[in-house]
Symmetry: C2
Subunit: 354 residues, 2 copies
DNA sequence: CGCAGTTACCCAATCGTTTGGGTAGCGTGG
DNA sequence: CCACGCTACCCAAACGATTGGGTAACTGCG
């Protein structure tokens, strides 16, 4: 029981005004003011008539016309490495939700973690006159953030942080520390990290959080124990192959900074005839919906992906409002599952090898 | 107080015109016409001056103003069940690519396969005055398509089809047939289907393609062998649990109409002490990047997801141009891996372990 | 009764672009 | 010499919403 909608042109303010015999400006004031400005605009009887007719006719304001006048589009641009990465897709869901609640629309584009494409996509967004940008793909040392700042374009970072700019991320350092504690406590002493892409703060922070805590605990970990890799399954598999081919002995536990890389590592481990959780412990990151459901359930650090997206919107709105904002680092939580279950793991492997 | 950034206004046509001492309309004609109209608009010398200055000043037309005049926004709306579903996210990547090539922007929203939300999101898109919609979440029997048609709103379907409306999909029936042939050829006679959501044509077509071919081959398959489920990992696990708990004997092969459901099924199978590929064959659908990389690599039917997205854009553009278009059904391809490689695979694995 | 204040409106300019319709000035053919 | 057709522009009216600035009519007060 909505809109007339016989197609044709959408209803305009002028149409409504003509039908009511009043001026379009009066209609406008009634419709878009939160009773603050409306008070002087029209009698409550008129206001009611206006609102009723608008509802009946299914009036919706033309955003192009409105933004022409107001210089605001009520739209954000979101750039991510790729939406086919479940992590970013989930963050985007949070963005979409929060944006919609605030009556904003969002454009999303994939940059494939390619700096040139990042810039190109950002320009496309700006040509669309978005009110602000959410960048989910920023690289360590990127020049783009400085450029945008110089052009005083409102933006915030998501997923990855960049010192000096507002961001909504997981506290990845703490995430790495949680894994270090867990592996140490379960008796592992020979560990390795599948570290992800060195241009992503997520990878860097998770890795350094792990390594620093590991050293604090009295563990040993060398550069050779840290293998950089792509974030996807294949990257994880390749990195694990590297680790398993080492002459100096293979680790009893592997921390992959991403669930997909962890899954790839699990594949590599199995094809070497070893069993995950028994011969080698594996821990992932993000606790994507897959982790708990895998044939061998994967221990993983849960990052609040949806919340990260929602908060990014909140931050951006405040930046647009001219506020000075602080970056957010949301707390992660470790979920221990069969892939790294307990002290027995290391022992059984010794038995197997010996 | 208004704490606005010192953001300088973008360059306008008028700015350019003033600087060149010519009329804005001349600048407009030079800039946006493909030399056809430009012919009579300005001398080639003037045209060159205009283009040069536009480039120097980084002029980009205000899309709001343009669309106010032209009644076109050069934007599409895309609605999907959820972008955190890798399949839809990949299709969207194709959409984004093809749309960008055609100078279109895209809004995407998640409908969570909820009819009410579908309608709501569609209205939001239309309020944004998109030139057309790509619906990736249509349900069998949905009224929405008829409504949109009645309002003569240009739209196409993606991923899922709906008889009588243009769509870009995989040939899911053929996909199901491929799996039936494969399982029959490898000697399976007791099979089951994890069928997905009964409101999705993908699920229906893959299932009926499989079942019909299976019957043609002389196989037997009853209603109890077909378990409807959610498309995600958990749904697959639950469905597999149902199958494994049956009193009438468990199947030797399971066809899950979605890779994620297949992964969930693999988990359930393992937790029953059975080995995928040895005790029970599993075949998935879509051949997502995960499938080949899993600890036990998953056989899967590859659907051309990116291409489906790209073609959806092409279709929509033609619909907008007023053409009568035919639906597309892109050919799938089966990739056989360890999860259903038959007796040989199991033997080689035994040899390796023993 | 006069005047200030309030109510409930209307008016018109404006945002940037597009586009149908001029027109001045020149060259050409008859 | 005039009619005519080019070329290379200019002009102005849209498109729909917003908003600062009116103003007529009424109310209340002294």
């Amino acid at each position: 029981m909505r809109a007339e909608g016989t197609g044709r042109q959408p209803i305009t303010l002028k149409d409504l005004a003509a039908e009511l015999g009043i001026h379009p400006s009066t209609v406008s004031r009634v419709l878009h003011s939160t009773s603050e400005i409306a008070r002087g605009a029209a009698s409550s009887a008129t206001a009611e008539r206006v609102r009723k007719l608008a509802r009946e006719r299914g009036y919706s304001p033309d955003p192009g016309a409105a933004s022409l006048r107001t210089r605001r589009t009520k739209a954000f641009g979101v750039i991510v490495p790729r939406l086919s990465d479940l992590v970013l897709a989930t963050m985007y869901e949070g963005v979409e939700e929060a944006a919609a609640e605030a009556r904003y629309s969002t454009f999303v584009m994939n940059s494939h973690d390619n700096p040139e494409e990042q810039r190109r996509k950002a320009e496309i967004m700006l040509a669309r006159r978005v009110d602000g940008l959410i960048l989910g793909d920023i690289h360590a040392g990127s020049e783009l953030v400085h450029e945008l700042q110089a052009r005083s374009i409102p933006f915030v970072l998501m997923s990855r942080r960049y010192p000096g700019f507002p961001s909504s991320t997981c506290d990845d350092v703490v995430g790495g520390e949680l894994v270090a504690d867990h592996l140490w406590d379960t008796g592992h002493r020979a560990v390795a990290v599948i570290a992800g892409e060195p241009f992503a703060s997520t990878a860097l922070d998770r890795t350094s959080g792990f390594r620093d805590r590991w050293l604090d605990l009295g563990g040993r970990i060398s550069d050779a124990d840290i293998v950089w890799s792509r974030f996807d399954t294949e990257g994880g598999r390749e990195a694990a192959e590297t680790l398993l081919a080492r002459r100096g002995g293979i680790p009893t536990a592997v921390f992959a900074v991403n669930d997909f890389a962890a899954i790839g590592a699990m594949g590599a481990i199995r094809s070497h005839g070893l069993t995950v959780g028994q011969d080698i412990a594996v821990v992932g990151f993000n606790d994507t919906s897959l982790a708990a459901q895998l044939p061998i359930p994967l221990s993983s650090v849960r990052s609040p992906m949806l919340e990260i997206g929602r908060r990014a919107v909140e931050l951006l709105r405040r930046v647009i409002a001219g506020e000075q904002v602080e970056s957010l680092r949301l707390k992660p939580e470790l979920f221990i599952r069969e892939s790294s279950a307990g002290v027995a793991a290391a022992a059984s492997r010794d038995a197997l090898v010996g």
